[in-house]
């Protein structure tokens, strides 16, 4: 499993155009921002929690053709409720296909059929390399995290990777303690060369959505803040990163969630507010 843990959320204080910023939570903003990035995508490998809500929101809005793949073996799932785990029975009933994990990982993922894979992370570096294994030394960990699950093969084989995570000095770090999932390695040039030489199908991370903004990767393979969420400040961004932030000029402001997006999240996708309160 590669799901990020549900992020604790907090209302955003400042005011911005569109829906009043106080009217939605930071998690809702993350979900909406991630969903919009899925416009035009076809096959998405879903993690549980925020990615699951984001992907389902995209299917109901910008990406009606989106097919959901769960590493547990369900393809074309249409969950009737928000699943707590990625193996919930609701992703099976009414799915297009339910297959063994051998088949899912061999033919769907490694075979190159997945357009977007979602990853969460305990630590990420400026090049989008991800650690979800340990904090501290591997042999004597300070904190033992879940480990790869399918994350390392998603990072290598999904055509592109979306990351959703909250940013903090502990998570956006200069050096990750363990590389579980490769991103742009030491930079775009080396990454492109290695990915091609080793025959990876994936081109690596393309988007990082946090509680503060949206990042893409520039020509050098480094994360660049392209859009700041309403209510978030550049200062907050800089305070929650272990490296010197690259910021797009001009820097966009993420459009606030529309009333329809919020309605879908609150009434249909997460009525109990498990992930979005």
């Amino acid at each position: 499993m590669s799901e990020p843990r549900p992020a604790a959320t907090a209302p955003v204080g400042a005011v911005s155009p569109g829906a009043p910023a106080s009217a939605f939570s930071r998690s809702e903003m993350m979900i909406v921002a991630a969903a919009r990035e899925l416009a035009g995508q076809r096959v998405c490998f879903v993690g549980v929690g925020l990615p699951n809500i984001a992907v389902n929101l995209a299917r109901l809005t910008v990406a009606p053709e989106l097919e959901l793949v769960y590493e547990s073996g369900a393809y074309g799932a249409k969950p009737a409720r928000l699943p707590l785990s990625i193996g919930d029975p609701t992703i099976v009933t009414g799915a297009t296909a339910v297959v063994s994990m051998f088949e899912l990982f061999s033919f769907y993922l490694q075979g190159g059929l997945v357009d977007v894979g979602f990853l969460g992370a305990a630590q990420i570096d400026r090049f989008g390399n991800i650690n979800s294994t340990v904090i501290g030394e591997y042999e004597h960990p300070k904190t033992r995290l879940p480990g790869s699950g399918g994350a390392c093969e998603i990072a290598i084989n999904a055509r592109q990777v979306f990351v959703i995570m909250r940013q903090s000095k502990r998570s956006f770090v200069d050096r990750i303690d363990f590389r579980t999932s490769p991103g742009n390695l030491g930079g775009a040039e080396a990454a492109a060369r290695i990915r091609s030489e080793e025959g990876w199908l994936g081109s690596g991370p393309s988007v990082v959505v946090t509680d503060l903004g949206i990042y893409h990767f520039d020509e050098s393979g480094e994360m660049r803040l392209d859009s700041l969420h309403p209510g978030a400040t550049l200062e907050q961004v800089r305070e929650t990163m272990g490296w010197q932030a690259r910021v797009a000029e001009p820097l966009a402001v993420t459009p606030t969630p529309t009333p329809e997006e919020l309605r879908l999240i609150r009434e249909q996708l997460d009525p109990e507010g498990a992930y979005t309160k």
């Binding site: 499993m1 549900p6 549980v48 073996g73 785990s85 099976v92 063994s100 994990m101 033992r144 093969e153």
Partner: protein, 305 residues
Amino acid sequence: MSKVKSMRDAVAANVHDGDVVAIEGFTHLICFAAGHEIIRQRKRDLTLARLTPDLIYDQMVAAGVARKLVFSWLGNPGVGGLHAIRRRVEDADPAPLELEEYSHFGMVGRYTAGASNLPFFPLRSYFETDLPKANPLIRPIKSPYGDETVYAVPPLKPDVTVVHAQRADADGNTQMWGLLGCQKEAAFAAERVIVVVEELVDEAVIRADPNRTVFPGLIVDAVVVEPFGAHPSYVQGAYDRDNRFYRDWDAIAREAATTQAWLDEWVYGVSGRSEYVDKLGAERVASLKPSGEAPSGSVDYGVYK
């Protein structure tokens, strides 16, 4: 010849101290009933293999049956960590726990190699990660065609694999539907197989839909009939995942004392699964019933005489 046994007899005959044990099932069909019986029989020094150790191995590790885990994702899905396991890993409390770590596909490949009698299984994973450093059994292998190098994982052949399923006949011919995980590969890879089912059916039910069979009785050593044996995991079409228990476990497992108290009450304190279900209560059981039926429909194989 019927292979139907009680859970007690099946575990006593097939699980021995020091064995490599796989209780598989990806979220779906995790046989907690077998795990609890292994705890009650105080097996020791087991190596426990599973993609996702889940609560079942957190409980077994807390009970002291294991010396080692072989796994790919160590957590309580959607909830958080596995605290009993973390205590042993982070603090060697009360003793260290050996870890052998892969990715999901790596574990699937290991079972596949074990089931196929292959000396390794190749996959496109692990490139440029620290996993091969953490686990030197993950090794590069050069393709005999061109210059490409991929990674290999070694076969995993459990001494015993436990599979929970919707139904089997008395010979162990087993059918399941819903998420299949890598139950088939883990069963074929194993020296011995225990099948635990919700329902024992006549051979004719199996033979009516041979494409639904996941493995034949040929590889099965014992068939245990134990309805609700997967709780708090679930069985597609029979009962729902008990997400409340998955959330509750987070608090229970945070302290060694509360964990042991839970084991005393719910594992050592009951004789087996039927007492556990009674204790759970009719209301809780009823609350996990699916809200309706979703029939697969029937297909026609045709009679050819």
